[in-house]
Amino acid sequence: MAKELLKGNVAIAEAAIRAGMNAYFGYPITPQTELLEWLAKRMPELGRAFVQAESELGAVNMVYGAACTGARVLSSSSSPGVSLMLEGLSYIAGTEVPAVLVDIMRGGPGLGNIAPAQADYNQIVHGGGHGDYHPIVLAPANIQEAIDLTYGAFDLAEKYRSLVIILADGSLGQLMEPAVLPEMLPVIMRQPEWATYGAAGREKRILSSINLEPREQEAFNLHLEKRWQEIKKAEVRYMEYYLEDARYAVVSFGTSGRISLSAIRAARAKGIPVGLFRPITLAPFPEQELYELSQRMDGLLVVEMNSGQMLEDVIKITRNSIPVEFYGRMGGMVPMPEEIEAEIDRLVNQPHSPNGHPRDRWLDRFSLDN
């Protein structure tokens, strides 16, 4: 198939169509609006359901309802809009119905701005909605990956009756790159054995997230936890760059991951043996892989477009066994390769201070002049 020059938001939308998505419900918000715009045109053309809801709350509950029928269903939004959806996501998780959500993150907190950020990591990866549940979280760093992950997200959601969230940032939404779109799958209405689509001729089924009997609720929670263990074993994905001979590694996801790649190439050109570990699944996180990598490194640098949210996971996984440093930009600012290269130089050439938290050291040297 020939490559096409595709914008991130459009590429994700078209990949979802080609995966046989039956229905989309959403509400516009920059910087993901082109995704909804593309579907507003394409879905009716194809005779499929597209609804611009009255709000994000409306959209997420329409997703919930459609998912209960067994439909392949998608919604998308950006940070403040996703915050509004969290109650619905918890209900979807509590009812164990598959659904896919795209979060094209922007600067915050609050209304913030429309520039790219990664500050929803904690909200998405570690829950957000109430109760014990684990969404599968996928973090693309380029357009081809965004397409491939979206295309596979529905299968993943259905296989585990799970929420799958594509977590990207505004710059990936706006970026154009050549990529290959996958084959168009036929759109079919699935009829899984749990779904509610009319009970003519069979026993009725009930889908609900309410269970007033704590013992039964606990059994359900246990079921979710066991399934999460299975997902952790089977679905971890990550990318490694230049790590074969490396003694230092940058750990970074999505856009900050690909920007780090430029810094790493510049550092390697100066003779520094550094590579990149880029998690693609933020949940389940590549814990074992990162731990094993850390055991053969002299130091790690975590780079994020937030104040060090994944950093906490990296520290926990590496168990304080090697030096870890952090560099972040916040509020919609994007780190430039030169800034990350300077941080790699610092990690390699300056004696590591074992005192304090990597975030404290970063805050001490952080300058708004960059």
Binding site: K3, L5, T30, P31, N113, I114, A115, N142, G170, S171, Q174, L175, M176, E177, P178, R258, I259, S260, L261, S262, A263, I264, R265, V334, M336, P337, E338
Partner: protein, 186 residues
Amino acid sequence: MQTEIIIAGFGGQGVLFAGQVLAYAAMDQGMHVTWIPSYGPEMRGGTANCTVVISDLEIGSPLISHPTAVIAMNKPSFDKYEKMVKAGGLLVVNQSMVDREVERNDIRSIMVPANDIAEKIGDKRMTNMVLLGALLGNLNFLPLKAVEKSLREHLPVKHHELLPANREALERGSAFLAVTVAPVIE
């Protein structure tokens, strides 16, 4: 080998489209390429810019602090981006929209009266293509013919009557030769 280009000007000057033409041509030549616009409040009435990175390797950062080349289509872009061009890089300036000369003497530069040339061609919308032609004629990383071919292949058919003017604009622009400003001796 990586080439980084920022194209900047007022909204409506065809900044984003010129970048996309470059991106299509690079893709058609089998290269890796990224195109990213500035987006946000600055788009409304202010300056617009896009960054195009072309490489034979998987591209890391699509955003660049010190690009190989800049096309400045107006004065605010000239003032902002002259400082940012990589030493030894190339600066293409729309002479029709600025009132000063290039100051840096560690880069190559071209002053192109692109508005005037576009008007002579008969379509002032061709300003961006004149400047793109000047860039291509002085960077030697993508042949002009490849860009013309990509325009033909990716421009919607309803706009194909504009192809001859686009071609003429690219060719006229490419005839300008970059110079290095002589250092001032005191």
